[in-house]
Amino acid sequence: MALKAEQINEKTVWQDLTEGLQIHEAATSKLFETGEWRTNTPVWIQEKCKQCLLCVPYCPDSSIPVCENKREEFDYKHCKGCGICVKACPFHAIEMKEGK
């Protein structure tokens, strides 16, 4: 029996996979935690942040959540640590830290 994407993990047996690993659901990329790939990590310095939100559209992995017109903490489950947000921020409110 084929499982739902959220039920599939590294313990799933071959009989439970979908044919050709086809996906019959939407938005399953949320389940793929690309944050595991990160080697360097962006750090948000809240006191320097003016909430201009320039970093948000620059993020290639949609890993800067916005709630009521204000950015929130990074989504580290999906942030790959590319560092583009650091370059995009005019107020030096994001710094790269070595390691996860």
Binding site: W14, Q15, L17, Q22
Partner: protein
């Protein structure tokens, strides 16, 4: 009512395609399969069928378009030969691993070089591990019958794999022979409509085809695909039984021709089997216990069943219309020898390369093989270490 006709192999499979009326055919011409897209596009132009024909710029494109079309939910086919099949190489695996039941007519022809347009199995044998089902025909009748059965096998929920329907270039594809056709209605009823559960154009379901998978998932995915190939065995036999009910013609994994009490057997694929049968009839009249195992289904490989059918033989010649370039023989030889070993068969086995690039095979050639098999069973090997049938040699 059966219809008596005379047709070439290409005409025969095109007639079957016309009766099936598939949804989409992307194709690129290559000798000797060119006539198939030609005949199909003529039927489309004449308004006899409503298949969407896609003229493409290469065989890599025809197979890629077939993959897109099949994933979208359309019953899809294409046709090719030789280098055209070789150019599809990369995407053949994509079709199979995405479990897309595409039908491909393969008119077997030598791969270059030397560049040559005649019958040889090196093209489809090169794709034998691509995950496609492969069914071979001896003559136009079998090519027609296999085409009608193909989608039923490929589209079965336990299988969902693409299928190659193979016939020998020119010898079968262009020679005109008698044939018995079925009427359109029983063919349409037998093949039925294609209603896949999942497809890209389904409006009420999102779907992704061919996602990237990391190492922790690929082995499981490949094992699941291998299971589909194993499941195909039962489906092929079930479909053949149903086909027999509408046609009166019976099919299995292979045909056993005077094999039951045979002490000396040949195993071969394709058009040369007609010549082998003539030689068998002649030698049987002289009292020699000779027979043939004609392979119809090569993928899945019915190794156990073949070994069982050959278990009483004293000596077996496995015939490959394909050079393996491995110093060890051809693909049928390698796989069947392994199956015979597993079955603990005691027969002497020789693997013979024959008929490359359309080289003629005569009744006399085959008689010579059986005579040498008798000697081989007595302990005298007249074949040499690397037998080529009819080779000029110093």
């Amino acid at each position: 009512m059966a219809i008596k006709e005379r047709m070439s192999g290409n005409e025969a499979v095109s007639h079957a395609i016309g009766q099936i009326n598939p949804d989409v055919m992307p194709a690129f011409p290559i000798t000797p399969s060119t006539e198939i897209p030609q005949f199909v596009s003529t039927m489309i132009a004449n308004g006899e069928i409503d298949t969407e024909f896609i003229p493409v710029e290469s065989e890599h494109s025809s197979m890629s378009a077939a993959i897109g079309s099949s994933a979208a939910g359309a019953r899809t086919l294409t046709a090719t030969s030789s280098c055209g099949l070789a150019l599809m190489w990369e995407v053949l695996y994509v079709a199979a691993s995405n479990r897309l039941p595409i039908m491909m007519q393969v008119v077997n022809r030598a791969l270059s070089g030397p560049i040559n347009i005649n019958a040889e199995h090196s093209d489809s044998m090169g794709a034998r591990d691509s995950g496609w089902l492969q069914i071979y025909a001896e003559n136009n009748q079998e090519a027609y019958d296999n085409t009608i059965q193909a989608y039923r096998i490929a589209e079965h929920p336990d299988v969902k794999l693409p299928i190659m329907v193979c016939q020998d270039g020119f010898i079968t594809s262009h020679a005109v022979e008698n044939i018995t056709l079925l009427e359109d209605e029983p063919v349409k009823a037998f093949v039925g409509e294609y209603n896949p559960e999942h497809y890209l154009l389904r409006e009420d379901e999102t779907m992704s085809v061919g996602p990237y998978a990391l190492s922790p998932f690929c082995m499981e995915a490949k094992r699941a695909q291998a299971q589909a190939m194993m499941n195909a065995k039962k489906v092929i036999l079930d479909v053949a039984k149903e086909f027999e009910a509408i046609s009166g013609r019976s099919y299995g994994f292979f045909e056993e021709y005077r094999l039951e009490d045979a002490e000396y057997a040949l195993v071969a694929i394709g058009s040369a089997c007609g010549t082998i049968k003539d030689a068998i009839d002649k030698l049987r009249e002289q009292g020699m216990k000779v027979g043939l195992l004609k392979v119809r289904v090569f993928r899945p490989f019915p190794g156990e069943e073949m070994a069982n059918a050959l278990k009483a033989c004293k000596a077996i010649a496995i015939m490959d219309r394909c050079e393996g370039y491995n110093g060890n023989g051809g693909p049928l030889g390698a796989e069947l020898t392994a199956a015979l070993y597993r079955a603990k068969a005691t027969a002497e086995v020789v693997n013979i390369i024959y008929g490359l690039s359309g080289r003629d095979v005569t009744v006399g050639d085959i008689e010579g093989i059986y005579e040498k098999l008798v000697k081989l069973a007595e302990g005298e090997n007249l074949f040499g270490t690397y037998p080529y049938l009819g080779l000029r040699s110093r």
